[in-house]
């Protein structure tokens, strides 16, 4: 959680507390999600744009097409295992009544969004105080959560169209093709605009890789969580540094 401050604070030595933010398991999940999605995107785009010249440069022989499809399918299995692990772990935690509701969407998130918008439109001086995950991060999580679900389900329909249509109506096949193809590109562009801006440009936030967040970032960006963990008041954030 946090390193305890020294009993007698030295006025010269400034101690900074480091907060644990993500477990090793969560960091592994992020790595696997990131790498598998990247491989799926890179092997999927040439298949989506097969009539384009650049795609035909890559898929220059039928064997290459088969090869790239094999990579796509194997990587998809990795992603499916990851998704099942993620859901399974959540269910286990739920049964043990240990599932944190930090990532769930609350009414407060909608209020935060309104206040943040007011701040961005110069109608408020300070950003709202956020908990462990702010609404921007929740949007990212749930977008990826449902996006991955759509990609996996539609991908399975495309992989086993004949078996699926013994149960479901035939038009789910072209529908799945449309979903798989569109969702992938929307998700990729969204992550590029939204997530990359927030973790690389707005500030460099590597907590998903290190697992830790320093005290200053915790006070500034997750004030409510800081107060909850330390019991200390923050003078509230939003000096406009957000």
């Amino acid at each position: 959680m946090s390193d305890k401050p020294p009993a007698t604070p030295d006025p010269v030595i400034r101690s900074e507390r480091i907060f644990k933010r993500f477990s090793l398991g969560q960091r592994w999940e992020h790595w696997i999600l990131f790498l598998s999605s990247l491989i799926l995107l890179l092997t999927g785009l040439p298949q989506k744009y097969r009539t384009a010249g650049w795609s035909q440069q890559i898929l220059s022989t039928p064997e290459r097409l088969e090869f790239i499809q094999a990579i796509h399918h194997i990587t998809a299995i990795v992603l499916i295992v990851l998704a099942l692990y993620h859901l399974g772990w959540a269910i286990i935690l739920m049964i043990r009544r240990k599932l944190s509701d930090d990532i769930l969407v609350h009414i407060q998130d909608i209020r935060d969004f309104g206040q943040m918008l007011a701040y961005l439109l110069f109608m408020r001086k300070k950003t709202p105080a956020f908990g462990k995950y702010n609404f921007e991060q929740k949007i990212t999580y749930w977008f990826v959560f449902f996006g991955t679900g759509i990609m996996i389900l539609s991908g399975l329909i495309l992989l086993f169209p004949i078996a699926i249509t013994h149960v479901l109506p035939g038009s789910v096949v072209p529908a799945a093709k449309l979903m798989h193809s569109t969702e992938a590109v929307v998700a990729a562009i969204f992550i590029l605009i939204w997530h990359f801006f927030q973790v690389h440009i707005k500030r460099l936030n590597l907590s998903m890789f290190t697992g830790k967040l320093n005290e200053e970032d915790m006070r500034t960006y997750h004030a409510l969580e800081y107060e909850r963990l330390t019991g200390e008041e923050t003078d509230q954030t939003g000096d406009g540094n957000s």
Partner: protein
């Protein structure tokens, strides 16, 4: 006086003779140009008009030497004034020189060269055809005269159905299929000017083997030649976007890639003829049609043997996405059309506002 008369008598006489000769030459020349006199035709027919005239080749084959005067005189060549020796170049008079052909095939091949004398471009084209390729081994492969006739040469496409009956002389089984197809029956029964005859799809003189990979991947464009022609299709109340919609389909994209990159690699993704049939194409409303809803599943199962009854709806056909026909697809498309707008505009505007606010904050701090 006598002197004068004697002096002018000779020039007048000479002038009269020259003018008379000149007139004679001009008049006779005009006569030649306006009416082909076909002197040799009748001369040759004096023997070859005998229905019993024949000869036996060294191979033992019997060749009839009879030429119907009626056929000959109504042939395109005869009416243009082209005479017997134009083709039978070695025969100048009677008795004829010794023949050197061992059999009927040699004789036919030698006379095909006679066609080349005038029709050289067409002759060269025909040398690239499947017929010329098989002629090397197969004595039955057609030469010029097998399709066009010899002494009875006529325009090959008058009437249009003549083309198909010409091909049917050898390809009788295919002609049988074609005859009852939507194309063939319109040609034969209605003399329809728009439906394809054999040569419209197969080419005229440079007919290619239609069983190759290349011919297969070229099939959609071949059919599109008529079926993407809006004016022509409107005449028969048929949609003209079938090709464009096919090109967007799974089959169509696959085939277009093979056509562009690997035309010599066989590929099974369906082209028009795999579902609609080839020479036996029927109207989709016809209960016998392979793409009639009653028969569609069986047609799909030719390539997708495991497919169940729901499978046919996976093929959205040559139809745009619509609420009536494909509701699931319609809702998915509508959902994504709005989701794309909301997500990308929303994220873009929000991030844009954040950037503006951050820049303003930084300026304010520095001005403080």
């Amino acid at each position: 006086m006598n002197n004068l008369r004697q002096r002018i008598a000779l020039p007048i006489w000479l002038a009269t003779v020259l003018i008379t000769l000149g007139l004679f030459v001009i008049i006779s020349g005009q006569a030649r140009a306006s009416v082909p006199d076909q002197e040799t035709e009748n001369y040759c027919l004096s023997c070859h008009g005998n229905p019993d005239a024949k000869m036996v080749l060294p191979s033992g084959e019997e060749v009839s030497l009879y030429i119907s005067a009626d056929d000959l005189q109504h042939s395109t060549h005869s009416q243009l004034g082209i005479e017997c020796e134009a083709c039978h170049t070695e025969i100048k008079t009677y008795p004829h020189p010794e023949i050197s052909y061992q059999n009927r095939q040699e004789l036919s091949q030698a006379y095909a060269l006679a066609c080349k004398k005038c029709h050289s471009a067409i002759y060269e084209k025909a040398q690239d055809s499947i017929h010329a390729q098989v002629a090397v081994e197969n004595p039955e492969a057609p030469l010029c005269t097998d399709c066009h006739g010899a002494h009875d040469v006529q325009k090959p496409d008058e009437p249009r159905s003549r083309v198909s009956t010409t091909c049917s002389q050898c390809h009788s089984e295919i002609y049988g299929d074609y005859q009852s197809s939507v194309h063939g029956s319109a040609l034969i029964n209605e003399d329809n000017p728009d439906v394809p005859v054999c040569t419209d799809c197969h080419g005229v003189h440079n007919i290619q083997d239609p069983r190759t990979d290349q011919f297969r991947v070229d099939t959609p464009e071949l059919c599109a030649g008529c079926h993407a022609d809006a004016g022509l299709m409107a005449k028969y109340d048929l949609p003209a976007d079938v090709y464009d919609l096919y090109a967007l389909s799974w089959h169509g994209v696959d085939v277009s890639v093979y056509k562009a990159r690997w035309p010599t690699i066989w590929h099974d993704s369906a082209v028009c003829t795999d579902c609609h049939g080839i020479h036996d194409i029927l109207n989709t409303d016809d209960p016998q049609s392979s793409v009639n809803p009653a028969n569609l599943l069986a047609t799909c199962q030719n390539c997708h043997p495991e497919a169940g009854p729901n499978w046919t709806a996976a093929w959205t056909g040559h139809h745009e996405i619509s609420l009536d026909r494909t509701p699931i697809l319609f809702y998915v498309q509508t959902f994504y059309a709005s989701l794309v707008q909301v997500v990308l505009w929303g994220a873009g505007i929000y991030v844009g506002l954040e950037i503006i606010r951050a820049i303003v904050n930084r300026i304010r701090r520095n001005l403080r």
